[in-house]
Amino acid sequence: MTAKEWKFTSKDIANKPDLFLSGHRACAGCAPATVLKLVMKATRGPTIVTEATGCMEVVSSIYPYTSWATPWLHTAFETAAANASGIEAALKIMKKKGRISKEHVDVIAIAGDGGTFDIGLQALSGAVERGHDFLFLLYDNEAYMNTGIQRSGGTPHGAATTTSPAGRAVPGKLEYKKPLADIMIAHDMEYVATASPYYWRDLITKVRKGLEVEGPAFLHVFAPCPRGWRSNPAKSIEYSKLAVETCVFPVWEAVNGEYKLSIPSKVLSLAPQRKKPVSDYLKGQGRFRHMFKPENKALLEEVQRITDKRWQKLLKKCNLP
C-alpha cells in the first residue's frame, strides 16, 4: 500500500502501537516530542532509527530507560546521516549474504536544526550524494535548545537566543534562516518536503512518502519549543499552525524537484487575504518580544518583508501566481 492509497483515520493512528513511547523526559509543550510520536506512527514495517545528539536523543534514551520500541542508535551530534549510511550498507550486504532475513528495513535518521543546518550538514550532503536509502527527518525548533538556546543556522532573523541576545546595540539574530530544504532539493533528491505537526495528517503522509522513496528523502518539520521560544507550553501546536498561516513556514513537497504546495499553504495561495501578518505569529513568543518595541519597528517590517519575499519565491517555484 503506497502513501497515496493509505487511507487512515485518526482512530487508526491512535490504535497503532507507539514506537516512540511516553514517559520520556521532554519539557511540557515540547512539539519535537509530538513530532517524533507522529513520525513513528507513519512507519510501514521494521524500522531502525538513528538520532543525532540533541534534545530528543537526551530525553528519550536516558540509561537504563528508553522511549524507543524500535532499534535505535545514537553516536554523536554530526553523524545522523553517516550512521544511516552505515546501517543501510550493513543491512544491504547482510541480506545479500543471508545473514539476516530478506525483509525490508526502513532507516530513519533524526536530527534537530543544529544537527542538520550546521554541524551535520556535511554528513547529510555526503549521504544523500551517495544515494543511501533512508529518510532524514529534521525537527526544527530553531536553535540549540539542548545546550540552552543558542542560535543556529535555522534560527530566524530577529530571534533572541543566548548567543544572539536582543541587546542595546544588536536586536537579536541579524542573519536569515538558511533555506535548507531548497539546498536538499539542489542535491537532486526524489523527495523533499516540509511539514508542521498541527497538520498531522499531512505530516504522517509525508513521512510515509519519504520512506517509500528508494533512496534518500528529506523531511523538514517545524517544531516549536516553548522553553527556547519563551512561549506558552499550551500553545506549541497553535504556533505550528500560525507559522503556516503567516507563511513563515509554508508546507510543501517537491517530488523530483517539482515544488507543490500542500493544502494548508495552497489555500493561502488561492485566497491571499487569509494569509495572516507575521506579527500574529511573532507576538507571544519571548524570543521576538523586543521586535515589538517602537525602536525595532524596522526589524518587524523586515521579517514581514523577508517572509513575503520567500513566499513569493516559493509560489513561483510552484508555478503559482
Binding site: Y63, A82, I87
Partner: protein
C-alpha cells in the same frame, strides 16, 4: 611446525597486503576516505569491489569522521566493518573513536602511520595513533608488510571475541611499510575465513531478563549509544577496561593459534623479544624500526656486546607484565619514540615503560630517544649510537641526558 599450511608468496606493499587481508576476511562494510599514505588500501579495495572479487558494501564517505561513524553504525548493525586512515584523518575521527569503543563495536582499522600537521608532512611517524592512545582502541604496530597482513586477519578475531568486543587499529609505518614492496606469505581465502569465521554476535541480557543479540535488530529492539549520567557512565567505562584486560589474553591466544597454522608468531603477540635473555643493554621500539635494530643487535653480538631488542607489538592494552618479564635482566634500556608528548618529559612509550619498571627490583637505567619525526631517516650508524650510549651509561653508572633526539639538527 610440520603441520604448517601451504601458503602463496606474493609481492605486496604494506597497503596492498592490508587490503588483501581485509578482502580475505570477508568484510561486510568498508567505509573509508582517502589520505596519504593509506590511499592504496582504499584504492585496492575499490578494485576488488569493482571487479566483483568481494561481497562488500563500499561506502566512499565524504570525510574520515563519517567513515568512522558509518563503520561504527554498520558494526552495531551486525556487519564486519573495516576502514583505514592516517594522520589528519585519524585526528578527524578522534571523537568517533571513543564512541566506537564505547559502543563496543569491533571495527578494524589500518593506520598507515604518518606525521601530524603543522607543518604539513605526509611521511611516517607515530604521532597520529599515539594521539589516540586513550580512545579505547586496541593498538598494534606491525614490523613489516607480512605482519601487517597477518595482524589485520588477527584483528578481526581479537576484536570480535565476545570477551573483548573492542575496535582494533593496526599501525604500519607510512611509506616505510605502506609503499614498500615485500614478499608476503598469504593464506587462501578459505583458510582465512575458517580462521576468523563469520562474525558471531553475542547475546546480552535485556531489562526483561531476556537474551537478545547485541545489535540493531528489528525483532529485538535495542537502544544503542544512550545517554548515561553520573549514575551509570562510570560502570560503562570500567567495563571497557575489563575488556582491555581480556584482550591481553585474546591477543596471545590468536597469535598462538595463527602461529600454529602459518608458522608465524610475533613473540607472544604482545611483545617480541630479540636476544633479550642475557642482554645487558636493550632498546625498545615499535614498528618497522625493529627490522634495522635487529641487524644492529646481530652486529653487536658478534662484537661480544650483550645487546637485545624488545619490540612492543601491542601498545593498547599495554602489556606491562610481559614487558617487565622480558626486561628483568637488562641493566640499561633505551626507549625509542617516533612521536612526541610536548612538555611531557619524553615520548609516550618512554612514559609507559618507565611506569612499568618503577617497582622493578632490578631498577635499570632507562633513557629515551625521540627519532624519525616526519619521516626523517635514521641510519643504522645513528641507531647504533643508542647502544653505545647505553654501554657508556653502564660504565659510568649514571645518565647524563635522559631524553635525546636522534638525527636532529640542533
Amino acid at each position: 611446525m610440520a603441520n604448517i599450511i601451504k601458503q602463496k608468496m606474493m609481492a605486496l606493499a604494506g597497503d596492498q597486503a592490508v587490503a588483501y587481508a581485509a578482502k580475505q576476511s570477508d568484510v561486510d562494510v568498508v567505509a573509508a576516505y582517502p589520505i596519504t599514505p593509506q590511499t592504496i588500501i582504499v584504492e585496492k579495495f575499490s578494485e576488488y569491489v569493482a571487479n566483483g572479487e568481494v561481497e562488500t558494501e563500499f561506502v566512499c564517505t565524504e570525510s574520515e569522521h563519517s567513515a568512522m561513524s558509518a563503520s561504527l553504525a554498520a558494526s552495531v548493525t551486525g556487519a564486519r566493518a573495516f576502514t583505514a586512515t592516517a594522520s589528519a584523518g585519524l585526528a578527524l575521527m578522534h571523537e568517533m573513536l571513543f564512541v566506537t569503543s564505547g559502543c563496543r563495536a569491533p571495527v578494524v582499522m589500518a593506520i598507515a602511520n604518518r606525521a601530524l600537521s603543522a607543518p604539513l608532512n605526509i611521511h611516517g611517524d607515530h604521532s597520529d595513533s599515539m594521539a589516540q592512545r586513550d580512545s579505547g582502541w586496541i593498538q598494534m604496530y606491525a614490523e613489516n608488510s607480512q605482519e601487517a597482513y597477518d595482524s589485520i586477519i588477527q584483528a578481526f578475531k581479537i576484536g570480535e571475541d565476545s570477551n573483548v568486543l573492542l575496535p582494533v587499529m593496526v599501525g604500519l609505518d607510512g611509506f616505510t611499510l605502506s609503499h614498500t614492496l615485500e614478499n608476503v606469505e598469504t593464506l587462501s581465502d578459505e583458510v582465512v575465513q575458517q580462521f576468523i569465521g563469520i562474525r558471531k554476535i553475542p547475546n546480552v541480557l535485556t531489562h526483561e531478563d531476556k537474551q537478545s543479540p547485541f545489535r540493531l535488530d528489528p525483532k529485538n529492539p535495542m537502544t544503542m549509544g544512550p545517554i548515561a549520567l553520573q549514575n551509570y557512565y562510570f560502570e560503562f567505562k570500567r567495563q571497557q577496561e575489563e575488556a582491555m584486560k581480556n584482550a591481553l589474553e585474546a591477543i596471545q591466544d590468536v597469535n598462538k593459534n595463527y602461529g600454529d597454522l602459518t608458522g608465524r608468531k610475533y613473540g607472544n603477540g604482545l611483545v617480541d623479544a630479540y636476544n633479550l635473555k642475557d642482554a645487558e643493554v636493550a632498546a625498545i621500539c615499535l614498528g618497522s624500526t625493529a627490522g634495522t635494530m635487529k641487524t644492529i643487535v646481530d652486529k653487536l653480538r658478534k662484537e661480544g656486546i650483550k645487546a637485545g631488542l624488545l619490540r612492543i607489538r601491542t601498545f593498547r592494552p599495554f602489556p606491562s607484565k610481559a614487558i617487565k618479564s622480558a626486561l628483568r635482566n637488562v641493566k640499561a634500556i633505551a626507549v625509542m619514540d617516533k612521536s612526541m608528548s610536548f612538555g611531557g618529559n619524553g615520548g609516550p612509550a618512554y612514559h609507559e615503560i618507565r611506569h612499568v619498571l618503577y617497582d622493578s627490583e632490578s631498577k635499570p637505567f632507562i633513557v629515551n630517544y625521540i627519532y624519525g619525526l616526519g619521516g626523517r631517516d635514521t641510519s643504522p650508524t645513528q641507531l647504533r649510537t643508542i647502544y653505545d650510549d647505553l654501554q657508556q651509561i653502564l660504565k659510568n653508572q649514571t645518565i647524563e641526558e635522559p631524553i635525546k633526539y636522534l638525527g636532529l639538527r640542533e
